[in-house]
């Protein structure tokens, strides 16, 4: 396991090492970043009791929480619990949401990662049914089988990585976040993220190496 860990307090999720120069006021009024401004407006509407805002926030952000939780936990039932908890924390935060401090997505990635990390630490061993989190790919039965096998192998290899390497890989390589945003989510510098990703990739390659032939990657490792 990595020495340092993602801080697990919900309140810490709004701390950001790289703050922009926006005025430190609540609400959407002084937020320069258009995404943050839109987020703040949604949160204001939600706090004011707008049901459409509740639906909008759920549709936009629940998939994000669930995806990340699935990839970190590998167990859909646990991922559902974590995603639901993360969304509840977001809704509870709506009345005093500070739009200039973070995007909702960044905040949620961090809260979800913290909740998932807590879950991982609470359970003694990796679950046997880890591959349940891998959805069945779409095209052709044979290709689908190969893809499913590859996804299962990837998930198993991810599960074997240290927590922070796994989180860095999932956020940057699978969720497609920029390094700066990954750094914000993880509460570290960009260099640290680069290092975590590099080490994570090395770990994945080492874990997947023996299965290259079985996964259709051109033969067994030499």
């Amino acid at each position: 396991m990595d020495g340092s860990r993602v801080r697990t307090t919900e309140a810490s999720a709004t701390d950001h090492p790289q703050r922009d120069g926006a005025a430190a006021t609540g609400g959407a009024g002084f937020v320069a970043d258009p995404v943050r401004r839109a987020d703040a407006l949604s949160m204001e509407r939600f706090a004011a009791g707008d049901r459409a805002a509740a639906r909008d926030l759920t549709e936009r952000f629940l998939p994000l929480c669930y995806r990340l939780a699935c990839r970190l936990l590998s167990v859909p039932a646990e991922a559902e619990d974590v995603a639901q908890e993360a969304m509840m924390r977001l809704f509870a935060k709506a009345p005093d949401w500070q739009g200039e401090r973070a995007r909702i997505s960044t905040w949620l990635y961090r809260v979800t990662a913290n909740l998932a990390t807590d879950r991982l630490r609470a359970r003694p061993t990796l679950p046997i049914e880890a591959a349940d989190a891998v959805p069945a790919p779409g095209p052709g039965p044979e290709a689908a089988l190969t893809d499913r096998a590859r996804l299962m192998a990837l998930q198993a290899a991810l599960d074997g990585l240290p927590e922070r390497q796994r989180l860095a890989i999932v956020l940057s390589q699978i969720e497609g976040l920029a390094q700066a945003e990954v750094a914000q989510v993880m509460g570290c510098g960009i260099e640290a993220v680069e290092s975590l990703v590099a080490r994570g990739k090395k770990g994945l390659a080492a874990a997947l190496g023996p299965q290259r032939g079985a996964l259709g990657f051109g033969g067994e490792d030499e």
């Binding site: 939600f46 990839r71 639901q84 009345p95 959805p135 997947l208």
Partner: protein
């Protein structure tokens, strides 16, 4: 650099392919989960609308603010400082008067009708006598005792 160190370029491509596959096959939350979350969200909103939670931004009170304003606070501070200065001056005067003679200050501050000078002096004399000579009549007894010892 060993062969094993060079190899990750091919492995990098394979990993990139796997990551792309994972992105394409992103797990989606079930409708039941979405419905649960939405129900909880609206319940939370309902609670907030009924006054269960604090409003987003606490509104300013509609009526007149009864707390002292800046000017009021300023005046209050001057009154406090004045009171402190007066108490200090009185204390200084009392101490200074004590060095010279306490009687003028006592008579100045308290009417003599309350503390007749003769009565207080008599009391003080009686108390001193009691301490040095014992209660009234003790001197006689002590004298008798000493006589007997002799």
């Amino acid at each position: 650099m060993s062969d094993r160190d060079k190899r990750p370029s091919g492995a990098e491509e394979e990993l990139a392919g796997l990551f792309a596959l994972a992105r394409a096959a992103a797990p989606e939350p079930s409708d039941a989960l979405a419905a649960r979350v939405l129900a909880q969200a609206t319940a939370l909103q309902g609670g907030a609308l009924q006054g269960g939670a604090a409003p987003a931004v606490r509104p300013a009170p509609a009526g007149r603010d009864r707390r002292p304003g800046r000017a009021g606070l300023g005046i209050g501070r001057w009154v406090n400082a004045g009171g402190l200065a007066l108490a200090g001056a009185l204390g200084f005067a009392a101490g200074f008067a004590g060095l010279l003679d306490a009687a003028p200050l006592q008579t100045a501050l308290f009417p003599t009708s309350l503390f007749p000078a003769s009565a207080t002096q008599a009391d003080e004399a009686a108390e001193l006598n009691y301490l040095t000579e014992g209660p009234p009549g003790a001197s006689v007894l002590l004298g008798a005792e000493s006589d007997r010892a002799e």
